[in-house]
């Protein structure tokens, strides 16, 4: 059983276009700012969000039009960010999260996206259904290391 009081909540939707990667980072950074993160914590969060959003745009939707969804939640000092796409989904999830695995080497992808999200945040959970879409849930508690 998990109990939590949600102090603040936001939901964002935007078109699956690469111009919106920077926009998504700015939105999550502005939301996280309420927790008074250090510059390094904020950089970690922005980097992780950038990975998730880029994946939704290039792997989830690719050349087809779509909408990326981000949910943000603050409970106490903990930030939860959920990135969802209704794109093509991931067939082999345990392979996908391996460091250096990429299905798009021709796009110069490094296969480090999931590894970055996992390392820069406290937790990462991925749910994906082929043909339906992908949800990445990231969380980070601010002020742990100071």
């Amino acid at each position: 059983m998990e109990l939590k009081n949600i102090d603040n909540k936001m939901h964002l939707e935007f078109m699956s276009k690469s111009t919106n990667e920077g926009f998504a980072r700015a939105v999550v950074a502005a939301f996280a700012a309420q927790l008074d993160p250090t510059l390094e914590e904020l950089a970690d969060i922005k980097t992780a969000v950038s990975e998730g959003v880029t994946n939704a745009i290039i792997h989830g939707y690719g050349t087809s039009a779509g909408t990326v969804h981000i949910d943000g939640e603050i409970s106490g000092k903990t930030l939860v960010i959920i990135i969802t796409d209704y794109g093509k989904g991931i067939d082999d999830l345990s392979q996908a999260v391996q460091p250096l695995f990429t299905s798009a080497p021709e796009m110069e992808r490094s296969g480090m996206g999931f590894t970055v999200m996992e390392t820069f945040m406290d937790s990462m959970d991925v749910e994906s259904t082929p043909g339906v879409g992908t949800t990445v849930r990231l969380s980070k508690t601010i002020g742990k290391n100071h």
Binding site: T19, I58, R109, S110, M112, T115
Partner: protein, 115 residues
């Protein structure tokens, strides 16, 4: 994303200013590729002192240029003091191929064999 290019001997120094993400990666790739060819650059130094953001798309850009330069017998180094960027680089394992220095001077000297 802004790119300033400069030749030091046979080394191309590329100073990137702004955000290096998937959105800007293609432009950076194209500009570096044509500069390397046009200037007959042997080595490449990434100057990340002006970088405000980088994610794993940047790793792809670095690695892609490394492969090309390396196949021609040249070297690639990076000048970066940005903590998050350096953690990304370390995490990706490319540090085994590409050294990271505190300053452009050190990064240039290293590929030019201390000259």
């Amino acid at each position: 994303m802004q790119i300033q290019l400069q030749m030091k001997g046979r080394t191309l120094v590329a100073k990137l200013t702004g955000d290096l993400d998937h959105h800007s990666a293609k432009t950076v790739k194209d500009m570096l590729e044509s500069a390397i060819v046009n200037q007959s650059a042997q080595n490449l130094v990434f100057d990340f002192s002006g970088l405000s953001f980088m994610d794993s798309s940047g790793i792809g850009v670095i690695l892609g240029r490394y492969k090309f330069i390396h196949s021609m017998g040249g070297q690639v180094t990076i000048a970066s003091k940005n903590k998050t960027v350096n953690r990304l680089i370390a995490m990706s394992g490319i540090e085994r191929l590409i050294s990271v220095y505190d300053s452009v001077e050190l990064a240039v000297n290293s590929v030019q064999g201390g000259k």
